[in-house]
Symmetry: C2
Subunit: 216 residues, 2 copies
Amino acid sequence: MAIEVVLADDHAIVRQGLSAVISQEQDIKVIKEASNGKEVVDIAKNASVDIFIIDITMPILNGLEASSQIMQINPRNKVIILSMHDNRAFIERALSLGIKGYVLKDSAADEIIQAIRVVYKNEYFLSPRISTFVIQDYIDSRGQKIGEKKIVSLTGREREVLQLIAEGYINKEVATHLKISLKTALAHRNNIMQKLGIHRQADLIKYALKEGITTI
Amino acid sequence: MAIEVVLADDHAIVRQGLSAVISQEQDIKVIKEASNGKEVVDIAKNASVDIFIIDITMPILNGLEASSQIMQINPRNKVIILSMHDNRAFIERALSLGIKGYVLKDSAADEIIQAIRVVYKNEYFLSPRISTFVIQDYIDSRGQKIGEKKIVSLTGREREVLQLIAEGYINKEVATHLKISLKTALAHRNNIMQKLGIHRQADLIKYALKEGITTI
DNA sequence: TCTAAAGTAGGTAGTTATACCTATTTACAG
DNA sequence: CTGTAAATAGGTATAACTACCTACTTTAGA
């Protein structure tokens, strides 16, 4: 019986293209498609699916949050993340959620096919560029290096603040929105910047977009 | 003989997916692919191509600039723009370049097939959402409305400045980069913001990203 | 239960951005 | 040839951001 996959991507053309590529394989079948995070979570609740292929950047509920909920529904659910970017922080988050597949959009289409087959067997598949630095981090953490690996993890509140900033709110508005003082909003902002090694608003916004914390 | 098309998109998976969709049609053939604007311009210089399908958001040379150069090489070249956003300003620019096809990525895959066939016959194909407001604008411009239609068109220099801002340069650096005074850089920035009705850096950056003026 | 992390909030300085002005030179279209 | 748009550049004032401080309270984990 074929491996039954669900595709989630907000762009219909991308989704159908991917579907066309996958359909060329006899052992894989696209049984459902979703155009946002909420839809794919609903599918996870109501259908039996072998593998979820989820794009990071989606409206309403981004790919990461959707994956998180899907893993909560059943930790044995298998998810492959499709992403435009090879950002360390995001990969860590995905892996810590128990996601086993992470494929970059700029890799060849047959990588996604490979990923489906590998993840189906409950093994990891990461695009080469990703696995390279996951392995590198592993090596570094084993070694005697005391060097401060800037492994970034924002707190929940920090992510909330960052999202508002990236959506165009100024600090004053962030504070109002979260019902905290301006000084607190600034403190969060400064902590975020320090953690990320970012010094400019522009980079902050781009980071948030890259991470799928917010969408354009 | 089949319609020979070239695909330009920086994401290989998207490109191959699209290629798979197109390949299902007997009368259309993907003869070449490009992963950035420069590559597709090079193809335009050296090969005979019926239709160029170009994604807006691409590194090195964005889809719009690439299209502009392709139209300069031969004004009879046929280009279809693939875009994530239905932004008025960008569509105007595309149309004024002589581009006859504009397809949104969130539309169905067969729209691109339709677009190829229609544009091949030297007619216009715009995704419905696009054509709606192109027509609306036409109607408005015919009517007696004196209302200030905020039809936005940035000048070349303004686009340069905006790109640098969106890439994370502060005004001082923009000035250095373009070898102009800080005051001039500021003047351009203010003009851009006024034209776009934007008052915050965050929105400026998001605008640039949306328009494909720069990439994340 | 104790402690570390997270969340809260304030102070102070210096830098950068925003929003108005005005004005000159260059290039191009009517 | 002549006006208009574009590109250049300066002035001034206010708002927002960045980068340091310190310090208290709450929360969750060892």
